[in-house]
Amino acid sequence: MILDRRSITVLILLVTASLAGSAQEQDTVASVTRGAAMSLYAEDNDQNCLRCHGKLVYTITDTVSGLSRKELMAEHNFISSDAYYNSVHWSFSCLDCHSEGFKSFPHAIETRFETAWSCIDCHGYDPNYAQYKFEEIDAEYQKSIHYTATDGAFTCWQCHDAHYYNPLARESGSGRENILKSNEMCLHCHGNPDIMGLVTEKELTMVLPRHEWLPDPDRHLAAVRCIDCHTRMNDSILVAHEVMPADSAVNDCADCHSQNSILMGTLYKYASMESRDQKGFINGVIFSNDSYVIGANRSKFISLTGMIIIALVLAFAGVHTVFRVIIKPVKKYYES
């Protein structure tokens, strides 16, 4: 199925609606998974914030007149408490990251201009997070077209909402799920001109027509992450972040379907390491190393040369055997 612009928009709306739906079902935060730990925080100030921001419909009361009315929370200001308390940042209070200005309501105008923390602000140069290489990720991001073409308006948040962040690439047990979620991040902007308009004046180009040159585009788009072709490969971090301009993207079949494939670095190395980390050496490497890239590690020259030499050895042995049968050298030796 080829998705057109409308389909992409519908897809995103469906994703958004499903999030909103689950949030409405969670009218209170009582049913979240980490309830015990959450209560420590929720009773402080999260509960106050989430009283409005945790609901798509909230109630506002005028304390002077005593009048109350229901209002819709703007979608981008809504926080699904369920998703938040299941994210890696679940233990933070709202005011750990947001300014004190949010304590009062209506919120002061300055709060709208508060700079959001980026990943590197908290995780950079911290030995506890050294394995994730945030510094290298940040350096890549600053070289990416996302950063250079938007004067930095594009931040980590455009792809990674800290309220809901989970290490998908590390923890997803399914390659397909990983691909789907990863591509959803890209389509969130690249399939929606309004959201893309928040960071650039550039007109949105249609994703699918640009990929029609691919043989069997549906299978490619379902089986490959956008970033596999659109980032400069770096096999020392899990997910490459240097998104390149569209005209620099991979467009040569041989880049993936050949020896010395760019997929070798990312798929082999990380799939192998992650599998080992999750399942241990015996189960993760010995028995289920799925990260061999078929065809990518084959050199026709080496295979051909090896087979020719083996054939020559066998031919030589064959000729030698024929002479042995004709001449009978061992018999000759003992007779002499």
């Binding site: 096999d235 190393n289 078929i294 295979s303 040369t305 090896g306 030796y333 002499s336």
Partner: protein, 206 residues
């Protein structure tokens, strides 16, 4: 006149048998991965080939370590000590024998004896395989299981790709060695006498 002498102690025969079985599995599964094709019934299914190859590779590493200890602490190790002086002359003599002297009914220039297990050509190839090819196969094979230790780039090429290619080349060398080894083994007193020796331990000399 021929006579028999005890030539292969039990540990050498056990190690040799284990080595042979593991190498056969590794070669079959290695080729299966290299020429992987789901529609080809001649090759082992890819995922199964990967698992068998990895298990055999680990076992061969253990078996090889035992072999190294055996060579260090028993007299078997002396057969693997190359004497450089006059090596060219000795290799030529042995090569000439295989190509011509053997057919003329000449006596082998370096016959097997209790003190000499290998002729010069065998010794050179066995030393090369046991002390260079196999260790490099182990290093590259284990590196592919721990890819974080592989250089990211070398001469502009992916370190993983180069390691893999080197592993494949070394694998081909082992296959070539195996064919030559098997063929030369048929050149005993009878085509099967050397095979019998490595099973019983007793060598027929002639």
């Amino acid at each position: 006149m021929s006579h028999n002498f005890y030539h292969y102690p039990v540990w050498v025969r056990l190690w040799h048998a284990m080595n042979a079985i593991l190498c056969l599995f590794l070669i079959v599964t290695g080729f299966s991965m290299l020429y992987s094709d789901p529609d080809n019934a001649l090759v082992v299914k890819f995922q199964r080939a990967v698992a068998i190859h990895n298990v055999c590779g680990v076992l061969l590493t253990i078996s090889y370590t035992l072999f190294l200890f055996g060579n260090l602490f028993t007299p078997n190790g002396r057969h693997y000590l190359l004497r450089i002086k006059g090596v060219g002359q000795r290799l030529w003599q042995q090569g000439y024998f295989y190509a011509f002297g053997y057919f003329k009914g000449e006596k082998a220039p370096f016959p097997v004896s209790a003190d000499r297990k290998f002729n010069p050509l065998q010794q050179l190839s066995y030393v090369g395989v046991m002390y260079f090819v196999l260790p490099m196969l182990f290093i590259t094979g284990w590196a592919l299981m721990f890819p974080e230790f592989i250089l990211k780039k070398f001469l502009g090429l992916s370190g993983i790709f180069l390691t893999d290619q080197f592993h494949v080349i070394l694998g081909f060398l082992v296959v070539i060695f195996l064919f030559i080894h098997l063929y030369v083994s048929t050149m005993g007193k009878s085509p099967v006498s050397n095979f019998r020796s490595i099973v019983t331990g007793w060598q027929e000399s002639h």
